[in-house]
Symmetry: C2
Subunit: 220 residues, 2 copies
DNA sequence: AAAAGTATGTTGGAAAAACAACGGATTATA
DNA sequence: TATAATCCGTTGTTTTTCCAACATACTTTT
């Protein structure tokens, strides 16, 4: 147990919480550690979620099966990341499954206990709530930005929206992006080669310059 | 002041908090009420946000100006809704503006104070945190579902993903949807008429039946 | 330095979506 | 009830994207 806590003490969720406090936290939040074999189901579509998970070791994938049985992978969970936290706080039943890609170890924490601190109002409770709010808010901001880009009708507009956002966030007309071409295309929900072609066009039209991951937005 | 609290006591944020507690809460969370004239800026792009807002009266719009000055409306805020809560909990600077569409009254609450309850651990603090986690998690789930739909390449796939999700959520192959055709097209980020045509095709192919807001998914 | 692998750009034809315009049906309003 | 307004489906044309295949440049490995 101690060994396992050592592995996750640097996760965002446990940021600024003392290692000594971690084990008392486990009791307070009804912490349960579970092990899964490769291929096992960690959470199932439609099953009520009262706890959220923190992956200690292994790798998980969040998948969705639609009405016709088609499978689509929504995200990959790496160690130190939390998952199902949003569903733990709403009444809705999850519409996706979580499966273990390799043998994995998960710490489940009681979402109710986390938001209703115990009588003594332990200091780590405050910090946990802060951290959780940060994590969820952060996801929220990122999801919103992605939607802003994807909502545009053409690849050109999607690209410009994305680049404009980067420019604003990095507070400069010149900036580096974190994605390679394929990842950027996936992020925007378009075809890589078509996106490359669109980037060339924009360069020819004098709207931007770029080289690999470096971009510069120009006046029209 | 009392009058204003009366107006927002039914908001999700203040759910299950006693009216008597509201004014003590205001002190604790450094609550500030501000008034805006139509057209005034409530929050500005790039300006640090330490507080989030709860709209008491009026109507606001969240807008984004890109690098080329194009304006796009991200959302409309109605009374009792909160806004900027995600940005208040992350370090990122907001990339959007909030403007008053009509004369409006806003209650600002200190995000830091909310997540770090005071010494006496007042009961409303717990409830507020719970409510806020619910609101943000809910948004998160909704945003994720929207992205699932929008990420599909064709209008047909977007429709089927949306309808599958509805079917799962309503736990039935038959269900009613909340959007009219134009709203659904906007939600999915596609053209209304093209979407209508696609619906017809799916009906002809025997994949679904529908009439107005009623839909039924069929086996392939 | 050669070879293999990876990332990016280019192109042409097929497929899909956008767009515009219209007609019928339903709903709201005078 | 007449009229206007809104919603929805249809169609033909234009525009854009997808897709597959290939060329080039850069990176990593041996």
């Amino acid at each position: 147990m101690i060994n396992e806590l050592e592995k996750i003490k640097d996760s965002v969720l446990l940021q600024d919480i003392k290692v000594e406090e971690l084990s008392s936290m486990l009791g307070c939040l009804r912490g349960v550690i579970k092990h899964y074999k490769k291929g096992e189901e960690v959470l199932s579509q439609g099953a009520e979620i009262k706890q959220f998970g923190l992956l200690i070791e292994g790798k998980l994938q969040v998948v969705q099966y639609d009405h016709f049985g088609n499978k689509s992978i929504l995200s990959i969970i790496e160690p130190n990341q939390i998952f199902a936290e949003a569903y733990a706080y709403v009444n809705k039943l999850p519409s996706m499954n979580v499966e273990a890609l390799v043998d994995s170890t998960v710490l489940f924490l009681d979402s109710d206990k986390l938001s209703s601190p115990c009588q003594n109002c332990c200091s780590f409770h405050k910090q946990l709530v802060k951290n959780l709010l940060f994590i969820i808010s952060n996801k929220n901001v990122n999801l919103t930005e992605k939607i802003e880009c994807m909502a545009k009708r053409t690849t050109k507009e999607k690209l410009l929206t994305f680049l404009s956002l980067e420019s604003i966030k990095q507070n400069s007309k010149e900036f580096y992006i974190q994605y390679d071409r394929q990842a950027l295309a996936d992020y925007l929900g378009v075809e890589r080669s078509a996106m490359s072609a669109e980037l060339s066009k924009l360069k020819n039209e004098g709207m931007l310059e770029y080289n690999k991951n470096w971009f510069k937005l120009l006046q029209k």
